[in-house]
Symmetry: C2
Subunit: 418 residues, 2 copies
């Protein structure tokens, strides 16, 4: 295979995670190892930067800043929820790539956004423009197919697990009378995040909080929910309930949908299921209930990242560069779990086309028959993903997160009139 | 002064904090140093334990468990929001104290709940029952008078500051179009917690997030709020707003009050101001807004406690025992800040009667004229309180918090029919 010499470009897309920047750090660190990669650019705000030719020079960043990305939440290059749609937009991207001799494009994003990466690779091939496109997985929701688990998930459930533990201690402290604590977590279509809260239970203590976990995989009914809560309140002085925002009823309709939404991708805005169940509990059971809606903190609480997760996020970034330099294109880097008793994990590759449009669901056989708890298969799967703590430096009492200098790359093309 | 030999009892009251258990640890550790203190008991669920004679033997707990209390959130002895009111209840408490030869009573609670401690001390004196009652301050709200600051506050604002920093990075990442992030924090009557979010700003970077901080001390108007947000959105790509739940309008009425409430102390349930301002922003400015309501996590996120705060919480516990052994009673332990340039802090004593019913407000002269930011006096005050991180042990990926064995003390009296 002929060596491909040129510049590389990194783009981030979709909702940030605690470790998406760690993947960028992995790409930058590895890119600098390969002489065939000349410049290392970042696209600002994902596809918006691709269209607008808004690039920054990542090789000009300090070592400190790149190292700092390994524990900095958010998306250091900026993200976006827009997707390329029109043929003219894809043509523009290729034009921009050619203008900057971009030969390596790394797209850090969820399954949905990898569609753009796949199409860019396709168009480049059709135009015989030698370009290597590698997708790097990220999402706290863990719903990307092809990969055993997804960078971002481990840190999210470490945060959720720790927070549920802390909220349960608070509830226990003031729970001398009946008290229901509802914790609403993200999860549009799958219960991966809600399930992760079960890690707060000690081994062999199934009655530990969270007492009830409601997953989008199990159709929700008010009657069963109220029965479940009643049963726990008979046994315990308080009840901790974790609910996924994407809970659905028997007919597959979301239990709670919020109205106001300007989501560019046209998603309905989920959420509010916690408040809804709070009202239900207070009205039907006449006990006090309170809601903790973890919201955006689930994907940004990098001060409590999983070291395993952060390291794997860095690893998939490195692996993306190695794959591209080795001639791969239109591939997604995946995480492949070893078969042994002890957890091991290495990277693999999957076709981007196998990923786009597919969702990895929480296996139904990991959910107990009661519909509100997970069995040992889930614990065996998820426990290794939250191991280890990231050492975040503190400055004056608060986490010292990295900030890129963002030295602009000169534009060479006229502006794009989409 | 004659040595007073007998048993000691500890009670916790009000909403838990990240460090209220550290104060209990301080009391237990110090009590074991004094031979005049024979047994060390804990009252379960505050005044409920006093009435019900529900005591546990804290000297029987392992060293590990007591040490673990230094970083365990919640209230290890259980708390409650009830207050003693009827004379018969106070009589009962004295009866229970006499039955167990309680000669030292330590009440860890906020200003409101110290009223009970004061009255118990008064009644004991009236009955010539030799009892020493010392109040130990706790509240995340920092509104206790007499003390420079209150244990619980430093950890709460460290968590709030770090979370605002993380949420701001998330917002910046996806804020390629206008985006308003509203962070709702606690604070029934004072802006101490909301003000603490300003610590997320770097020194000499007044334009850092949080861009706007709304305090209960400054009457709120929709017009000014919308003007403020417009101004920030002209300057920045996104706007981070911190709002205290206790925001009031020109007439002193809460801006947002929630309806359903079973609060035993008869407080109205505050909250929802974030959602209210979200609707306002979306309707009036046609920009996307989102709410992070930090809720109970503010007082329970012990994994991110301030070491300064946790150490001071332990210190006030120790100081309470020393004061009692030295013959003091009806006093509150306070924190007294040194006059020097470098932060130092020691304990003092105040009369319980000076504390009850009083609120320490955020000084108006610490708020800038713009009404939405704090000046150097606040930073000088608050910055030392969040310094240092507590080393929480992790077990299997999650914080390993302590759990007391709670060995019951035998009851000797018939039950109380209140």
């Amino acid at each position: 295979m002929a060596e491909l010499v040129g510049n590389c470009l990194i783009g981030q897309s979709g909702g940030p995670t605690a470790v998406i920047n760690a993947s960028v750090a992995g790409i930058v660190a590895e890119a600098l190892n390969h002489e065939c990669i000349e410049e290392v650019y970042g696209s600002l705000n994902g596809v918006l930067g691709l269209l607008g030719e808004d690039f920054v020079d990542l090789a000009a960043e300090s070592q400190q800043a790149i190292r700092g990305l390994r524990f900095t939440p958010g998306a250091a290059l900026g993200s976006c929820r827009s997707k390329l749609k029109k043929p003219a937009e894809f043509e523009r991207v290729l034009e921009v790539f050619k203008a900057h001799n971009i030969r390596y494009y790394f797209h850090v994003g969820d399954a949905d956004s990898q569609e753009n990466a796949a199409k860019i690779a396709e168009l480049a091939a059709a135009q015989s423009y030698d370009l290597r496109v590698i997708g790097v997985p990220k999402t706290i929701e863990n719903d990307m197919p092809a990969t055993d688990h997804c960078p971002g998930y481990g840190s999210a459930i470490k945060y959720i697990g720790a927070t549920v533990k802390e909220l349960a201690l608070d509830a226990e402290a003031i729970g001398q009378s009946d008290l229901v604590t509802l914790v609403e977590v993200m999860g549009r279509n799958t219960g991966w995040l809600a399930a992760g809260s079960s890690l707060a239970k000690r081994r062999d203590h199934p009655n530990d909080p969270p007492h009830l976990v409601y997953l989008p995989e199990v159709p929700f009914t008010n009657e069963k929910f109220l029965d479940d809560v009643r049963r726990v309140l008979k046994r315990e002085k308080h009840c901790v309930v974790v609910v996924g925002e994407g809970l659905v009823d028997k007919d597959g309709n979301y239990v709670a949908v919020e109205t106001s939404s300007n989501d560019a991708a046209g998603h309905t805005s989920l959420g509010g299921v916690g408040e809804l169940l709070k009202d239900l509990v207070e009205q039907q059971l006449s006990v006090k209930a309170r809601v903790a809606r973890l919201g955006i903190t689930q994907r940004s609480a990098a001060h409590l990242s999983s070291k395993t997760d952060a390291d794997e996020a860095f690893l998939v970034g490195q692996a993306a560069v190695k794959a591209a330099v080795n001639g791969e294109t239109a591939k997604l880097v995946t995480l492949v779990r070893g078969d042994g008793e002890l957890y091991t994990c290495e990277t693999g590759l999957s076709n981007l086309s196998d990923v786009v449009g597919n969702v990895k669901r929480l296996p139904k056989e990991w959910i107990n028959e009661d519909g509100i708890s997970l069995n040992f298969q889930f614990f065996r799967y998820a426990t290794p993903l939250i191991q280890g703590e990231v050492t975040v430096p503190y400055d004056n009492g608060l986490p010292a997160y990295a900030k890129l200098a963002r030295e602009n790359v000169d534009k060479t093309l006229p502006g794009f009139e989409g």
